[in-house]
């Protein structure tokens, strides 16, 4: 086995640009997932059964099918149906954002449900209306359950983001593959890409544990 990283040299800037490309789409996807996921979570805990039904169906579909299939449907099926040639970036953030929303909504719902139901009773007994009760009493406590799990979801999303290479989006993964094809050597670029993913995940994990410690300190 002989590894040769020297030929990789000229391609390094091309590879490193992939970090930004990956982060950009991961960040936008997380944002979509967070906003949509919060809305879905609120649908799940209201007493409006239609909204609850919709949110549960949504979650079931997006968690029950492979992410790569969702990506393919958005990227290939939308043009076929509408004639609109969807750009890879848009397809990527849609697939990842919509998919992440399903997971985020479950995380938020579970976090809210985990708050002691005595808290709701105490608030109700004091005559506090639903909205201030949610905003000032339940959600601040739910956040402590939610944030660590959300951090995990973001980490998973960052890793899984490599799937977008399959629709030709020029992310870190795709770039590693392109370099591999040019050099007829796959191991070195993949190894470097792997290292970069790992560093990103380690940084996110670190941020997560700092956050968690902050939360626990405020108890």
């Amino acid at each position: 086995m002989n590894l040769d990283f020297s030929q990789l040299g000229p391609y390094i800037p091309f590879l490193l640009q992939g970090i930004w490309i990956t982060l950009k789409f991961v960040f936008v996807s997380i944002l979509i997932g967070l906003i949509l996921g919060t809305l879905l979570a609120l649908c799940k805990i209201t007493r409006h059964s239609i909204l609850t039904w919709f949110a549960n169906a949504y979650t079931s579909i997006f968690r029950g099918t492979p992410l790569i299939l969702q990506l393919m449907i958005i990227f290939y099926a939308i043009p076929q149906l509408t004639g609109y040639d969807i750009p890879t970036f848009l397809a990527a953030i849609l697939a990842f954002g919509l998919n992440s929303a399903a997971y985020v909504s479950e995380i938020i719902r579970a976090g809210i449900m985990a708050v002691d139901k005595g808290q709701v009773e105490a608030a109700e007994a004091l005559g506090i209306p639903y909205r201030p009760m949610m905003l000032n009493i339940i959600l601040p406590q739910a956040v402590k359950n939610i944030l660590p799990a959300l951090m995990n979801e973001f980490i998973t999303l960052t890793k899984e983001s490599a799937v977008v290479s399959t629709i030709g989006y020029l992310d870190l993964m795709r770039r590693a593959q392109i370099i591999g094809a040019q050099l007829y050597r796959n191991f070195e670029p993949l190894l470097v890409a792997g290292l970069i993913y790992w560093v990103m995940v380690v940084i996110l994990t670190k941020l997560g544990s700092i956050l968690e410690r902050r939360l626990r300190a405020s108890d």
Binding site: D116, G118, Q119, E121, A122, E124, A125, L126, G127, I128, P129, P132, N136, I137, P140, Q141, S218, D219
Partner: protein, 240 residues
Amino acid sequence: MIKVEQITKVFGKNPVLKNISTTIHQGEVVAIIGPSGSGKSTFLRCLNLLEKPTEGKIYIKDREITDPKVNILEVRKHIGMVFQQFNLFPHMTVLENVTYAPQKVKKLAKGEVEKNAKDLLAKVGLSDKVDSYPSQLSGGQKQRVAIARALAMEPEIMLFDEPTSALDPEMVKEVLDVIKDLAETGMTMVIVTHEMNFAKEVADRVIFIDDGVILEDAEPHQFFNAPKSERAKDFLSKLL
């Protein structure tokens, strides 16, 4: 003050309260006693509509609160409740716990509310804990904050659901003393309790509930010395 007319509460298929009627007058202190699972908490929670009676009517000051048109939040503003597990808001300081509802619900000015809250906390002996968080308090202190929190809404009725059952024995007295002081102010109170001596001493009336039915409704000395039903005799003999 409170009139309960033939209320029934069914959970699923399980009837927990069966046709209960009673009247509680202004300024009366009523102790609710009975075996575990007999429906004491459910009865108490019907009074502020934390549970909705399946059937029957409840009147508070001649207004039917079980009428579906009634604004439940409005009713609850005038009824304070103290729970076995305290249920303080853990992310708020003691002062915030006590001031939150008057500010949010009654829309009173912050300064006024805080002054009132500090007076109440002084009355329950917690002036030095104003800025503490619930997690820094003992059980007895937590329960006294919970009482102050309920009183801050200036309720006309106070409901207590086993307020001392979650406390270490040495803290029971400090909480009972606060409740006793409150009874002396003429507050209308309904207290579910296992503290028989306390009931004897403080209550004007004892209601004994067994299996969802009021079996006895009497003055304390009568209930404790000469219970009429076999179930009550049995219950009291097991306590000794």
